[in-house]
Subunit: 148 residues, 2 copies
C-alpha cells in the first residue's frame, strides 16, 4: 500500500541501525533503510537507505559487484573512488561502479548524510587484503585519506 515515511531532522520513522553488525574499519556511522525492507514493500527491487557519518567518521573501505547510487543530502565530505579522493557536497550524486573501492569520510563540522540506493539482491562487500591495500596506497591522496 502506498504510504509516506515522514522525516524529521534527518531521521525517518523506521529503525535506526548500526552501520554493520559485523566487521571493522568503519567509525561513527548509522544506517536507516527508509524504503524496501518493511512489510508490503517487497515489490521494490531496490532499497533506499540513508547513511549518516559523524564528523571524523567513515564508512568501510570496500568493493562489490553491485553498483551504488548515492545522493548527498547533508553536510560535506570526501570519498575515495579507487585511485582518487573527491570532495562531495550537498546534492552531489556519486556513482560507485562495480568493484570500485570506495570509502566515505565526513570531513566537515556537520555530519555527512547520504541516500544510497542498491539492488535488493546483491553480493556481499569485500574488504581489501594486504596486496590491494598496498596498491591503493600507491596513490598519495588515497594513502593519506584511507582508514582500515
Amino acid at each position: 500500500m502506498a504510504k509516506i515515511i515522514r522525516s524529521e531532522n534527518y531521521r525517518w520513522d523506521v529503525p535506526l541501525k548500526e552501520y554493520k553488525s559485523d566487521g571493522t574499519g568503519f567509525r561513527d556511522i548509522t544506517r536507516q533503510t527508509i524504503l524496501g525492507e518493511a512489510e508490503g514493500e517487497e515489490r521494490l527491487n531496490f532499497l533506499t537507505r540513508y547513511f549518516e557519518v559523524q564528523p571524523g567518521g567513515y564508512s568501510s573501505l570496500e568493493h562489490h559487484e553491485h553498483p551504488h547510487a548515492v545522493v548527498i543530502i547533508r553536510g560535506e565530505g570526501e570519498v575515495i573512488l579507487k585511485d582518487r579522493v573527491e570532495p562531495v557536497g550537498l546534492h552531489d550524486c556519486v556513482y560507485i561502479s562495480p568493484h570500485t573501492y570506495h570509502q566515505f569520510h565526513a570531513t566537515g563540522a556537520e555530519p555527512l548524510g547520504f541516500l544510497c540506493i542498491v539492488d535488493r539482491e546483491r553480493d556481499r562487500p569485500q574488504v581489501p587484503g594486504d596486496t590491494d591495500l598496498e596498491n591503493l596506497r600507491k596513490h598519495p591522496d588515497v594513502a593519506k585519506r584511507l582508514r582500515v
Copy 2:
C-alpha cells in the same frame, strides 16, 4: 567508471528535460535523470531522477505496475495517493505502490523537488478514463486537488 555528478542549486550536470514528451495533464514540471541513462551506467538496474514542480504546478495523475520510491529534497507540496491527499515536506519519503493513482502538487512558494527512483525496465503509466476519474472524485479532498 565511478564518477560524481555534481549539483548546484538543484541542477545536475546532465540534460534538463521536459517532464514528458507527450500527453497532457501536467504543468510546470521538469525532469533530470541524474543517474542510469548515461553511457557506462548500464549496470544500474534503476534510474535516479529528479523532478521539479514550480509553484502551482503538478505531475500527471497516473498509475502503473512499477513502484516509485520518492524522496522530497526541496520545498513542500501535496500528493494524491489513490483516495487521499497527503502533505509532504523536506526529506519525506513516498512509496507509490503498484497501480496506485498519484499526482504531486507544488503548493508552497518554493518549487517542489523530489528524487524518484524506478526500475530501468518498467511499464508505461496509465492515465484515468472517465470511470476512474469519477471514482477518484468520490473522495472530496481528492476531487478538490486533482487536475487532469
